[in-house]
């Protein structure tokens, strides 16, 4: 039999010495009924909304319905050992999860218990999973970018620190891939990441964790997983747990990014819990507070000002703003964005990245629909150079879409139309990007600059991808200084333009692709 590291005699001795054995008065009730993980408890006069209720066998439940003579609660985890007549007692605590930097690199369930087999979690602090979002006075507007490393997103739908940007699309359109790429790209940006998997296959979660490890992204990432096999209650609370873990960084003047994958399944889980608690069903059988379910969660993603951080840390961290950026994911059925939950979440968030299966199947990946994707606040946060160069890319694509439909019928096209069509085709091609290969600001700038300045016009459409990668390789080996400068400052001026032009001319003259 093996000993745990926590079983050293000295440790045990000190814990016994410091063991707090205060006698507490608490209220106790009796389980009246138990069905599908829903408990009805008689008694418990002092219970609070959302309080943890202790049950036999080290099991906990969360009080959700406080009625006159009974309390409706959901069991967290298995309930096979519970039965009618069991005693249930109040704990006086709202559901809490561990927080702290020690969680980075770990995989946890919705209650903060480690499930990656790497031993206990190194964390001394806990925080309640439900917290009120920062108020108006405590906030600061979004003005710093989160670089996702994806050209199409950073150029056309930029995401700022503290923004909520929805990723929406049908199944199999690359929603998770976009989010994972964004996490991988935070390796050197100092942004901590939280990935919350809700109602997914455990194998999918394991794959994602492996991919993150392969790309060295696990070191700055916390994974919270409530897989499809776990109870609806766990799936319902998982995003809140993840959000609390992310808020730890926000409140201490750091930047964090949280991905909710996906909120559709959380809404399903909450619908199940609500219906079992016999709350009245509304549209699509969702309960009346389904909007609040998501709005209170996404409201917690925010950018807070330096005063808030200073006050929160009791003056330990000064002059630093904090942020929590959220990338919620919503899965639509057959592209129907006007269903109940998608419209709700679209209205809550600061923009959406719309992924389409038609584009995906046509090989345009990430399959971003440039017309329907918007970012309402990200523009203010975009890097100067990408903002300048990205504008014309967006325009070129918009013009191309308009003309492409029309041009199918017309055989005789004038010179300008033809050039717009060919530019559009090449830009569409240029926006393709492989998975797990995020680009730096400078690389992106070169690609966009190349399209804007017409360097691609004489390149065959099918060669655009090869041309780009050859160009980037060439520039990286010959113009390292310029790249470093763009990456560092992100500014755009005549000098840099001239430098980029010279580098590209050089590549066109000498390069092979």
């Amino acid at each position: 039999m093996q000993l745990n590291p926590s079983e050293i005699s000295e440790l045990i001795k000190s814990r016994i010495e410091n063991f707090d054995s205060a006698v507490e008065a608490r209220t106790e009730g009796t389980v009246v009924s138990l069905s599908d993980g829903i408990l009805r408890i008689h008694g418990l006069a002092d219970v609070m909304q959302g309080e943890m209720i202790e049950l036999p066998g080290d099991t906990f439940a969360m009080a959700l319905n406080l009625e006159r003579d009974s309390v409706g609660a959901v069991v967290m985890g298995g309930y096979g050992h519970l039965s009618e007549g069991d005693k249930a007692s109040c704990t006086g605590r709202i559901l809490e999860v561990p927080i702290g930097a020690g969680l980075l690199g770990r995989v946890m369930d919705a209650l903060g218990n480690p499930i990656d087999g790497k031993g206990p979690i190194d964390s001394s602090e806990t925080a309640p999973i439900e917290k009120i979002a920062p108020g108006v006075i405590e906030r600061k507007s979004v003005d710093q970018p989160v670089q996702t490393g994806l050209k199409a997103i950073d150029a056309m739908v930029p995401v700022g620190r503290g923004q909520r940007e929805l990723i929406i699309g049908d199944r199999q359109t690359g929603k998770t891939a976009v989010a994972i790429d964004a996490i991988i790209n935070q390796a050197n940006s100092g942004v901590k990441c939280v990935y919350v998997a809700i109602g997914q296959k455990a194998s999918t979660v394991a794959n994602i964790v492996r991919k993150l490890e392969e790309h060295g992204a696990m070191e700055h990432t916390i994974v919270v997983a409530a897989s499809a096999a776990e109870s609806a209650a766990m799936q319902y609370i998982a995003p809140y747990s993840g959000c609390t873990m992310g808020e730890y960084f926000r409140d201490r003047g750091e930047d964090a990014l949280i991905v909710f994958d996906d909120l559709t399944k959380q809404a399903w889980a909450y619908r199940q819990v609500s219906l079992l608690l016999r709350r009245p069903p509304g549209r699509e059988a969702y309960p009346g507070d389904i909007f609040y379910l998501h709005s209170r969660l996404l409201e917690r993603a925010s950018r807070v000002n330096a005063e808030y951080v200073e006050k929160f840390t009791n003056g330990e961290v000064k002059g630093k703003t904090g942020s929590l950026t959220a990338l919620p994911i919503i899965e639509t059925q057959d592209g129907d964005v006007s269903a109940f939950v998608p419209t709700n979440v679209i209205s809550i968030t600061d923009g959406q990245i719309f992924l389409e299966s038609d584009l995906f199947n046509a090989g345009i990946r990430p399959a971003i629909n440039a017309g329907l994707s918007v970012s309402r606040v990200g523009g203010a946060a975009q890097t100067n150079i990408i903002k300048k160069l990205g504008g014309s890319v967006r325009l070129a694509l918009a013009q191309y879409r308009e003309l492409a439909a029309f041009a199918q019928f017309a055989s005789d096209l004038d010179e300008i139309t033809r050039s717009q069509l060919s530019r559009g085709e090449r830009v569409t091609e240029l926006m393709k990007q492989g998975q797990y290969s995020p680009m730096s600001v400078a690389e992106m700038a070169f690609s966009l600059f190349m399209a804007n300045e017409g360097y691609l016009d004489d390149v065959d459409v099918s060669k655009v991808v090869d041309f780009e990668s050859a160009m980037l390789a060439h520039i990286k080996s010959n113009n390292a200084e310029l790249i470093a400068r763009i990456d560092e400052t992100g500014e755009y001026n005549d000098e840099i333009t001239a430098g980029m032009r010279a580098a590209l001319d050089d590549f066109k003259a000498k390069g092979v692709f």
């Binding site: 926590s6 006698v23 507490e24 008065a25 106790e28 009246v32």
Partner: protein, 178 residues
């Protein structure tokens, strides 16, 4: 039992108000206890559950057994409850009636469970402490449960004060296992 709480409450409250207005709290208390005893009788229960009898017949049956012991108002209560087909909740009504009474009189029953028999002084200390904590007149009943190892567990209504060795060992085990 717990399912009937909500249904029984209006009856218990009405009875208690009636009793205080006519200053017959004791008499009503006895009457309700009597009704409960009758309703809980196995033979009686079989009859009360029988679908063949109408509610008038059930009320008559109850009253035949109890007739000479009840005042006209108390007889009316039986009829009313029978009419609403709620004879089953009589025990719950009686219980809640007693709760209202205890509340109004500032009394509470506490159950003290200990590992060893308590001395008179110990009981007196517990009563005095509970009185201070709950702001009520406390009457205690003691039981012995050797599995507690040591200490006492006090149950007063929903409130549990668990000062037993058993629960402290349990939380120590939990703290060490963490």
């Amino acid at each position: 039992m717990a399912d009937y709480t909500t249904v029984a409450r209006p009856y218990a409250r009405a009875v208690y108000q009636q009793a205080t207005e006519t200053s017959s709290v004791d008499s009503w208390g006895q009457a309700l206890a009597l009704m409960t005893a009758v309703a809980n009788d196995a033979q009686m229960q079989a009859l009360l559950d029988s679908p063949q009898l109408g509610h008038e017949q059930k009320a008559e049956l109850m009253l035949k057994v109890l007739a000479d012991k009840l005042t006209p108002q108390q007889q009316n209560l039986v009829k009313l409850i029978a009419e609403n087909d709620r004879l089953k909740i009589l025990p719950e009504i009686a219980e809640q009636y007693e709760a209202f009474r205890a509340e109004a009189e500032g009394k509470i029953d506490a159950e003290v469970i200990s590992a060893f028999p308590l001395s008179k002084e110990q009981e007196a200390t517990i009563v005095a402490m509970l009185k201070e904590k709950l702001h009520r007149e406390v009457s205690i009943s003691s039981t012995i449960d050797a599995s507690l190892i040591g200490g006492v567990v006090i149950k007063a209504g929903d409130t549990i004060i668990d000062g037993s060795m058993k629960s402290q060992l349990k939380s120590l085990a939990l703290a060490l296992g963490r």
